[in-house]
Every structure is written in structure tokens, then in C-alpha cells.
């Protein structure tokens, strides 16, 4: 991404779904700061929300003594999102394809598909000392990204 960094946002929460309200509040702040279109803001919010829920439920196994961290930053032409947990409950390789006929009626397993459908880059890696790090990048249309 280009060097023109804008304000960045960070939040660390205990692994409880109730903490998602704080996540949504931070996303709201970020999309306003970056002047994202309503559509872009919607899909960014959904992708971040899915990744944080994954970190809480699958990475940290909903253990409130473990934390999940969200970082959102922008270079002006792209948004970079990093989600870290202290577990590592999955890899992309062992996530079943939810669009496979055999999985269509399953109640879960669609979060990663949603993230990958919207984001331009999605990388999952191990953190030093344990845990997973999910990095996502969404390139913004137009110079100001405010379409």
C-alpha cells in the first residue's frame, strides 16, 4: 500500500460475543473516518465482524481469559484489517466448502466464504508465541476511496 497513512484504529477484547458491540462501534468510527461509501462500509463491517467472531469462537474457543485484537488502517487507496487471536482453531485448508451440496443445509461454516468473497487479499498466519493472525486488504475505488 502507499505510504499516505491515515488514522488507524485498534481494539482488544476478551473472547465474549457480547463484546461485539464494541467491535461494531469501532468499525463505525473507522468507516466514518475513511469516508467509505455505504456499500463499502457494509461489506467491511460484515467481513470484520465475521473474522472477529471466528477469532472469539474458533480461535479462542470463547475463553474470556483469551483476547482478540482488531486493527484497522488505511493508506488512502486500501483498507488493511488485522485480527489476532490466542488460539488458532482453523486453517483455510480444513474449512469445508459451504457451497458444496452436502453442506448447503448446515447452519454454520459460511464466515470465511463471506470474507474471501469481499476482500481482495486474505492471509492467515501463525503468530510468534501462539495464536493466529488474519490479515485482510480491501482496495478502495477512486482516489479518495469515498465513491
Amino acid at each position: 500500500m502507499a505510504a499516505k497513512r491515515r488514522r488507524s484504529f485498534e481494539l482488544t477484547i476478551p473472547s465474549r460475543i457480547e463484546q461485539m458491540e464494541a467491535v461494531h462501534a469501532l468499525i463505525e468510527e473507522a468507516v466514518k473516518e475513511y469516508k467509505l461509501s455505504n456499500d463499502m462500509a457494509h461489506w467491511i463491517e460484515l467481513s470484520i465482524s465475521e473474522s472477529m467472531i471466528n477469532a472469539i469462537q474458533h480461535g479462542n474457543k470463547a475463553d474470556p481469559s483469551k483476547q482478540a485484537t482488531l486493527r484497522i488502517s488505511s493508506s488512502g487507496d486500501a483498507i488493511e484489517i488485522i485480527v489476532e487471536d490466542e488460539g488458532c482453531g482453523f486453517t483455510f485448508d480444513n474449512v469445508a466448502d459451504p457451497t458444496d451440496k452436502a453442506n448447503l443445509l448446515k447452519p454454520s461454516g459460511r464466515g470465511i466464504l463471506i470474507i474471501r468473497s469481499f476482500m481482495d487479499e486474505v492471509d492467515l498466519s501463525q503468530r510468534e508465541g501462539g495464536g493466529c493472525r488474519l490479515r485482510m486488504v480491501k482496495r478502495l475505488p477512486g482516489v479518495d476511496g469515498a465513491r
Binding site: I17, E18, M20, E21, H24, E28, D39, H42, E45, L46, S49, E50, I53, P98, T99, L104, L105, K106, P107, S108, G109, R110, G111, L113, I114, S117
Partner: protein
């Protein structure tokens, strides 16, 4: 996005033997999915079998919300009933397209047309 907008509201109405559930707000992990699940199960227990979910005012569904729609669909179907969707917003339509759930649900843009199919 105010906190009041984070939850989902559900308003049931009845046309003959079809229960139309007008949903508004967000169907997300936690309260949003539980509200839908509880209502469908209570209506099933009371003998209702035909459900039309009106999503005209639902602009945000997460993967848990999608999962709840699927669970409701399979629960109703397993009891011999029908559950169909009405008035998807563009974003929800896109989400059902991405996840191929448009191949699972019958979707309508017109309430009268939907009701005609619920025999």
C-alpha cells in the same frame, strides 16, 4: 449505526393459514438469531406450518443469521411445513447468491405471488 439498530424486530401477522413474519433490523449472532428461532419454534408448536419471512427491512445478516434462516428452513420442512423468503434487499440477495442459498430458498418479490404458492 446506533445500538438500538443492532437488534432485530419481528412482527408476525397472519393471512389464512400463512404466518408472515415482518423482520426488521439485523439478523446477527446472539439476540437476533435467538428471537427468530424462538418465534418459529413456538409457532410450529402451536400448529402453524406455513411461514413467509419478509426481509424488506433487513439490511444486514451475518453468517450466524444465515445459519438461523437455514435452521428454521430445515426445522419447518422436517415437520412437513414450508418456509419461504420475501423481499430481499440487494445486500441480502448478494449474500444468498455468494453462499448459494438462493438454490435452497424459494424467494419472492411480491407477497401475493408468494402466498399463491403456499398451498
Amino acid at each position: 449505526m446506533e445500538l438500538a439498530e443492532m437488534s432485530m424486530l419481528l412482527n408476525p401477522r397472519r393471512l389464512d393459514d400463512v404466518v408472515i413474519l415482518d423482520l426488521s433490523g439485523r439478523i446477527t449472532i446472539g439476540e437476533g438469531t435467538l428471537v427468530l428461532r424462538d418465534r418459529i419454534r413456538k409457532l410450529l408448536a402451536a400448529g402453524d406450518q406455513k411461514f413467509l419471512l419478509n426481509l424488506a427491512d433487513v439490511d444486514y445478516i451475518d453468517s450466524s443469521g444465515l445459519g438461523e434462516l437455514v435452521s428454521s428452513f430445515t426445522t419447518v420442512r422436517s415437520q412437513g411445513g414450508q418456509l419461504k423468503l420475501l423481499n430481499l434487499t440487494r445486500r441480502v440477495q448478494d449474500l444468498l447468491q455468494i453462499t448459494k442459498l438462493l438454490t435452497v430458498f424459494e424467494v419472492f418479490n411480491n407477497e401475493a405471488e408468494a402466498l399463491k404458492t403456499m398451498t
